[in-house]
């Protein structure tokens, strides 16, 4: 990576956007649980924001959509749980190690980053299924708990976990902001636009896709570790949950706007809350509704609501038009 010119423009120009990301999230996460006293919902929201940002880094910035990317979340959760329950690790290093494990797993995919998106999407699904079968296998019960789940309640601390998740959710949004303003991000955008021309400019598209992929799987792994910690005990299906931790996240990112800084965060906040409210009334038909939403999004607003919000904000802030 190019550190002399890591930022092309003055990094101070990020402050306004950074504060526009941090302030609303801080308000939601600090006041939210007072208004609606159910911390676990806000905990999940933080986890989903991390996942949305993680997915955005691969899907939004490199154009690769790994359908089964929830596997990194699950590996992060299991890595954390196993290290704490079997090796009595402290929580923080266990979560970091779990995320490193997820990133290591993502490296196995890098040969596929040479291939077109479709192979990639399918192979990540295959990996998801394979790891589910491994972690839920009865033969491995002594290590993973197998189908009976894994417990590590000795370190349970909901408030601390919530605080950590909120801080890291905001941090992951900042990571996306920094990437988008860095030469790394510009290279990623160029790779997505034209994978031939970008190579001629001297960019190794494989290398930069791999970086993006590593960052993304690491963040997913962290989200998994924090989620697992909050549960204290989980079944394999709770973390290897394709609908929630892959499909739903894809919908959030598409709704908000892939490849943007604000889109995935805004999309997640709005749709997650809608999802939670609706799930109180129609639990079963909900996925159908979200499936339809996915189709509508892809067909009619492939860029999500971010560009619309941006226009609206421009109109509010500069009613006479921008210079």
């Amino acid at each position: 990576m190019n550190f002399r010119h890591f930022f092309l423009k003055d990094p101070k120009r990020m402050w306004p956007e950074a504060s526009m990301l941090v302030a609303p999230l801080a308000v939601i996460f600090i006041l939210g649980p007072d208004i609606y006293p159910n911390q676990s919902i806000f905990m999940e929201l933080a986890v989903f924001i991390m996942l949305a940002d993680a997915l955005n880094i691969v899907y939004g910035y490199t154009g690769y959509l790994p359908f089964g990317f929830g596997v990194f979340f699950a590996v992060g959760a299991y890595g954390t749980a196993i290290l704490i329950s079997h090796a009595s690790w402290q929580v923080a290093p266990a979560i970091i190690a779990g995320a490193c494990l997820a990133a290591l797993l993502s490296l196995l995919f890098t040969p596929l980053l040479r291939l077109s998106g479709a192979y990639f999407a399918i192979s990540s699904l295959a990996a998801f299924e394979a790891f589910y079968l491994i972690f839920s296998n009865t033969q491995l019960t002594s290590l993973t708990g197998g189908p009976y789940g894994i417990s590590f309640t000795q370190v349970y601390n909901a408030n601390l976990d919530y605080t950590a998740a909120v801080v890291l959710a905001i941090a992951s949004a900042i990571v996306v902001l920094v990437i988008s303003k860095s030469t790394f991000g510009i290279a990623l955008q160029a790779i997505r636009e034209d994978r031939f021309a970008v190579e001629l400019a001297g960019v190794s598209s494989l290398r930069y896709r791999t970086y993006a992929w590593l960052i993304s799987s690491f963040i997913s792994g962290i989200a998994g570790g924090l989620f697992g910690w909050y549960q204290g005990f989980f079944y394999p299906e709770a973390v290897f949950n394709l609908t929630e931790f892959s499909v739903l996240v894809i919908v959030f990112v598409l709704f908000g706007g892939k490849g943007t800084v604000f889109g995935p965060v805004v999309g997640t906040v709005i749709l997650f809350l809608v999802y939670e409210i609706l799930s109180l009334t129609f639990s079963n038909s909900l996925l159908i509704i979200f499936g339809l939403l996915l189709v509508v999004l892809v067909l009619f607003i492939p860029n999500g609501i971010e560009p619309l919000l941006r226009k609206a904000a421009d109109l509010l802030l500069y009613p006479d038009g921008r210079d």
């Binding site: 510009i186 190579e199 001297g202 598209s205």
Partner: protein, 244 residues
Amino acid sequence: MDGGAVLEVNGIVKRFGSLEALGGVSLSLQSGDILGLIGPNGSGKTTLINVVSGLLYPDAGSLLLYGRRIDRLSPHRRSHLGVNRTFQIPHPFTGLTVRENIDISLLFGRLGNRADLDQRAEDILKLAGLSEFSEHKAGNLNTSQKKMLDLAKALATEPKVLLVDELAAGLNTSEAEAVARLLKEVRKSVDAMIVVEHVMNFIKRVTEDVVVLDAGKVIFSGKFIDAVKDSKVREVYLGKAGGT
């Protein structure tokens, strides 16, 4: 083998299914050369540029850059070694600004990570006549500006061998003239150049040395004035193109 060649293309074969787009093409570039590569539509000119720049791998044959094999290297490695090209249909990064398009080449190109990034960017923008569009989105440029941006991006990697694919095609006479002058200017900063064009008058203005391709084979290699007289060239190329 001629040790002094900048680029040697030896017996390059490229097939697309049953179509042999290049049937054993050989040519060589010495330092200071500008080689005009001409031939009718579909004769394999762009395919040869694609093979040399690394967007396609040859089925047979070899490429030597200053004596070093490059035919299995990825395009970014070749770019770092000094091979670059423009596209017949320009490839700008449409969502980025003109300046960012050039910055990518300056940052990641052959001499990447330079301290004088801004100065270089300004010089290249000026050369390509794009200074006033620096902050425009590349997608909003017109076709001839996009072609200039392609050239600017290639130059920003500071190439030693530059492959120019139909830069003047579709431009009006005065624009084409400007491009011819520009290419002569560019020649000073590169070691050797291949200029693909099917407008004969244009080639004449840029170089005397030409290679004529037809159906993937070199049918003539020599001086432009002799090519025009060559019976085979007249038949396959000038005949069809109407003798421009």
